[in-house]
C-alpha cells in the first residue's frame, strides 16, 4: 500500500520528477539506517500482555506518525518485551540521549498521538500519562 507508483510507466523528464520519487521513498529507506546515534528511541512493550491490552495499534500509530512527519532519521520506533508491569500495559518508553527515561503507561493510539506531538516533536513529556503519576500498588 505504501508503494503507490502513480507515475509508473511515465517517462521522467526533469530532476523534479526524480526528486518526487526520492521524497516518496525516503522514509522507507531511512528506516534502514544503522546510525542510531542521537536518535530518540520509542520502545513499545510488545509481550503477550502488551499485545493483549492493545500495544499494536499504539506501535503502529507511532511508526505512522514518525514517517508521515519525516522524522525517521531522528526517532526510532521499536518494540521491546515485557518490563514486568503487565497491568499498566500498553507501556511506551521514550529514551532520549542525555535525558532520563520517560515511561508512559496504559497507552492508546489517541494518547500516542498526544505524546508524539508534545513530547517527541516539542520535547515536553506529558506527566499525566507517565508511570510516576500513576499509583503503583
Amino acid at each position: 500500500m505504501i508503494c503507490r507508483r502513480t507515475d509508473e510507466g511515465e517517462k521522467m523528464k526533469t530532476l523534479e520528477e526524480l526528486k518526487a520519487i526520492r521524497d516518496r521513498m525516503k522514509n522507507q529507506i531511512e528506516l534502514r539506517d544503522d546510525n542510531n546515534e542521537g536518535r530518540i528511541r520509542v520502545q513499545v512493550g510488545m509481550a503477550t500482555c502488551g499485545i493483549a491490552s492493545g500495544a499494536r495499534p499504539v506501535l503502529n500509530k507511532f511508526a505512522e506518525l514518525v514517517q508521515q512527519k519525516d522524522l525517521t532519521n531522528k526517532i526510532l520506533v521499536t518494540q521491546t518485551g515485557c518490563i514486568g508491569l503487565c497491568q499498566y500495559e500498553p507501556i511506551v518508553e521514550v529514551l532520549e540521549p542525555g535525558k532520563p527515561k520517560v515511561t508512559y503507561v496504559k497507552m492508546t493510539p489517541e494518547k500516542a498521538e498526544e505524546v508524539f506531538e508534545q513530547h517527541l516533536v516539542r520535547g515536553q513529556a506529558i506527566g499525566k500519562y507517565t508511570l510516576a503519576t500513576q499509583d503503583i500498588k
Binding site: M1, I2, K11, I21, N60
Partner: protein, 594 residues
C-alpha cells in the same frame, strides 16, 4: 505504512544456502500472524558476511541474524516481529556479546568504509525507486543538466580514481584519451567478467546495486560522446544477469536510459553481452573481441581501445567496482574522494576474503589499511589457532604477502613493490598448513587451463613451468629446475601478448622470493614442510601412543593398516594412498605425518 523492514540477503552466497526459501516462509508467517501491513520483507544484495549466510537484518533496530534456517523463521516472526523480543540465539555474536547486536556495531563492519558497496544489503536491487531514494540517478541528472563533458572528466581525473580491475590505470585519463579521439561512434563498456578464483566483489555490486553501474556508464557516455554501452557479464552469474536486465528495463521505463534523457537531448542505451566464462575475456582487447561475436582472444596494443576498440571505434572499458565509485564522486566531489586513501591510491577497495579466515566474505576498506587490520580486526583472525603464513592477492596474476609485510599499508604501488598486485581484489589467507609450492602450482594450473593459446610464451611457457612445479612437488626437482623456472618466468613476463601471460608467472616468482626455503626443502630434503605434497609425506603410527583400538584399520580405504587388537598397528607405506583418514579417526593422536 510499514513500521519494520526485514532485509533478507539475496546474493549468490546466501541464495545457495537457502535464503529464497526463507523469504517465502517469512512472507507466509508474517501473513499468518497478520503483520503484512506492518512489516515488509525485502530481498537485498550481499552484506559481505557470506560465511554466516543466510543473513537476515531487521530494521529499525538493525538486528543482525546469521545462519538463519527456514525452521527459524516462525520464531523470528512470532518473537521479534510480533512481540519485540529479538531471537538471541540467532544474533550474530562476536565472542560473547550480550543483547541485540546491530550491524554497524560489529568489528566486521566498524573498520569498513562503504562506497562501492553502499547500497548492497540496504536496498532491494530490483526496485529502481529504492535506488533513487538513496540519491540514485541524481549524479546523472546533475551531469546532464549542469555540466559540460570536459567538466565530468576533470572531476574523475582530479579524484584520483584508478581502475579497480587490476592494473590500476587512472580512470579519468582513460576517459580523456577516448574523449580526445574524434568519432561519431564510441562505446562505453563494463567489464563484469570477474574471473579470479575466489573473487566475487563485482558480482555482489551487480547483484546488490545494478543501477549504480548503469548510471555511471551513462555519465561516462556523456563525458566521452558515446551513445551505446555494453556490459560483458559472465553467464555463470545468473542472479547478476537477471537483476541487470531488470535494472535496464526499469531505467528504460523511466527514460533514464533511452532518448533525450532528462530532456537534455542526450541519448544512451545499454545492452548485456554474456560471456562463457573464459578467464582471458577479462583482458580488455579479448573482451571487446568477444562482444563483437568473435572468439575471445587478445590482440597486441597499440592501438589502444581508447583509439580503436569495440567494432574498431574508440571505446572505454572499466570494471564494475570502478563504475560503482563514479556516481558518488560526481555527487560528493573529487576532494571528498581524494581525501580517502593514500597519496597515489585514492578511495576504497573491496576485497573478497577467503581461505583460512574467520569471516569469509566481502569487505570494503579505505586504501592504506594494513593487511593486519583486514585479517585480524575485520576478518576475525585465523581459525583453529593456526599461524598466519601469507595472504595471496591478485589471484593468478598476483602474489603472496608474507607475515613480515603484514603492516604495509595496502595500495596499488605498495603491493607491486612487494611483488604482488591489487588485482580485482581476491584476498586468500594462507596458514601454516598451506604449502607455498602447492599454491604456486594451483594458480599455474589455472592459467595453463585458461591460456587462450594465441601466443607461444603463454601457451607453451606456462605449461613447462607447471611441469617443473609438478616435478618439485613430487620430490624429483633439482636445483637446476629452480633456475630454469625462474628464467622461464621472466621470459614469459617479458614476451607474452596480454596481461594473462605477462602476469601468469607472478605466483611462482613471489613464492620463490618469500618462501625459497620451502622450494629448497622440496628439492634438497625431499620434504614438504606443510605436509601437503602427498608424494613427499608418509603417515606413521607411534607405537607408544597406539592402543590397538583397530579404528584406523577399519576406516582405511586401502587396507594399508595391519595389527591385532590391543597391539600397536603398522601402516604399509606401499599400500598407503595418503588420504589422512586414519589420522582423523585416531582418538589417541598416535598417527603423525612426516
Amino acid at each position: 505504512m510499514y513500521r519494520s523492514y526485514v532485509l533478507v540477503c539475496g546474493g549468490t552466497g546466501c541464495t545457495s544456502s537457502g535464503s529464497l526459501k526463507i523469504i517465502e516462509r517469512m512472507k507466509d508467517e508474517i501473513k499468518r500472524v497478520g503483520l503484512q501491513d506492518e512489516v515488509n520483507v525485502v530481498e537485498t544484495g550481499c552484506h559481505g558476511l557470506c560465511a554466516l549466510g543466510p543473513i537476515v537484518v531487521v530494521y529499525p533496530e538493525g538486528t543482525f541474524y546469521s545462519l538463519v534456517k527456514v525452521e527459524d523463521v516462525p520464531e523470528i516472526v512470532e518473537e521479534h516481529l510480533l512481540k519485540g523480543r529479538p531471537v538471541k540465539r540467532l544474533i550474530y555474536d562476536e565472542e560473547s556479546s550480550i543483547g541485540p547486536k546491530s550491524l554497524t556495531d560489529t568489528d566486521f563492519f566498524k573498520k569498513q568504509y562503504r562506497i562501492a558497496l553502499r547500497n548492497c544489503g540496504v536496498i532491494n536491487p530490483e526496485k529502481i525507486d529504492e535506488y533513487i531514494a538513496r540519491d540514485g540517478y541524481e549524479a546523472l541528472g546533475k551531469v546532464l543538466t549542469s555540466m559540460k563533458p570536459q567538466e565530468v572528466i576533470d572531476i574523475i581525473t582530479k579524484s584520483g580514481l584508478r581502475g579497480r580491475g587490476g592494473a590500476g590505470f587512472p580512470t579519468g585519463k582513460k576517459w580523456q584519451f577516448c574523449a580526445n579521439v574524434p568519432s561519431d561512434i564510441k562505446y562505453v563498456c563494463c567489464n563484469a567478467d570477474e574471473g579470479d578464483p575466489g573473487a566475487f566483489m563485482d558480482r555482489s555490486v551487480l547483484e546488490g546495486d545494478p543501477h549504480a553501474v548503469l548510471e555511471a556508464m551513462t555519465i561516462a557516455g556523456y563525458a566521452i560522446g558515446s551513445h551505446q554501452g555494453y556490459i560483458y557479464v559472465r553467464a555463470e552469474y545468473p542472479i547478476a544477469v537477471k537483476r541487470l536486465q531488470i535494472a535496464i528495463d526499469q531505467a528504460r521505463e523511466y527514460n533514464l536510459l533511452g532518448k533525450d534523457i532528462f530532456g537534455s537531448g542526450f541519448d544512451f542505451d545499454i545492452e548485456l553481452r554474456l560471456g562463457a566464462g573464459a578467464f582471458v575475456c577479462g583482458e580488455e582487447t579479448a573482451l571487446m573481441t568477444s562482444i563483437e561475436g568473435k572468439r575471445g582472444e587478445p590482440r597486441p596494443r597499440p592501438p589502444f581501445p581508447a583509439v580503436k576498440g569495440l567494432f574498431g571505434q574508440p571505446s572505454i572499458l572499466n570494471n564494475v567496482e570502478t563504475w560503482a565509485n563514479v556516481c558518488q564522486i560526481i555527487l560528493r566531489g573529487s576532494d571528498w574522494f581524494s581525501a580517502i586513501g593514500t597519496e597515489k591510491s585514492k578511495g576504497t577497495k573491496v576485497f573478497a576474503l577467503g581461505g583460512k579466515i574467520h569471516n569469509t566474505g566481502l569487505v570494503e576498506i579505505p586504501m592504506g589499511t594494513t593487511l593486519r587490520e583486514i585479517i585480524e580486526d575485520i576478518g576475525g583472525g585465523i581459525p583453529n589457532g593456526k599461524k598466519f603464513k601469507a595472504a595471496q592477492t591478485g589471484g593468478p596474476s598476483g602474489g603472496c604477502i608474507p607475515a613480515e609485510k603484514m603492516d604495509i599499508p595496502i595500495d596499488y604501488d605498495n603491493l607491486i613493490s612487494i611483488g604482488s598486485m591489487m588485482g580485482s581484489g581476491g584476498l586468500i589467507v594462507l596458514d601454516e598448513d598451506n604449502c607455498m609450492v602447492d599454491i604456486a602450482k594451483f594458480f599455474l594450473t589455472f592459467t595453463v587451463g585458461e591460456s587462450c593459446g594465441k601466443c607461444t610464451p603463454c601457451r607453451i611457457g606456462t605449461k613447462r613451468m607447471l611441469e617443473i612445479l609438478e616435478k618439485i612437488t613430487k620430490g624429483k626437482g633439482t636445483m637446476d629446475d629452480l633456475k630454469k623456472l625462474e628464467d622461464l618466468a621472466y621470459y614469459i613476463k617479458d614476451n607474452a601478448l596480454c596481461g594473462l601471460g605477462q602476469t601468469a608467472p607472478n605466483p611462482v616468482l613471489s613464492t620463490m622470493r618469500y618462501f625459497k626455503d620451502e622450494y629448497l626443502a622440496h628439492i634438497q630434503d625431499k620434504h614438504c614442510p606443510a605436509g601437503v605434497c602427498k608424494a613427499l609425506l608418509s603417515y606413521n603410527i607411534d607405537p607408544n601412543k597406539c592402543k590397538g583400538c583397530t579404528l584406523c584399520a577399519k576406516n582405511c580405504p586401502a587396507d594399508a593398516i595391519s595389527g591385532t587388537v590391543r597391539n600397536p598397528h603398522v601402516i604399509d607405506q606401499s599400500k598407503c594412498v595418503k588420504c589422512g583418514t586414519c589420522m582423523d579417526k585416531c582418538r589417541f593422536g598416535a598417527i603423525y605425518k612426516k
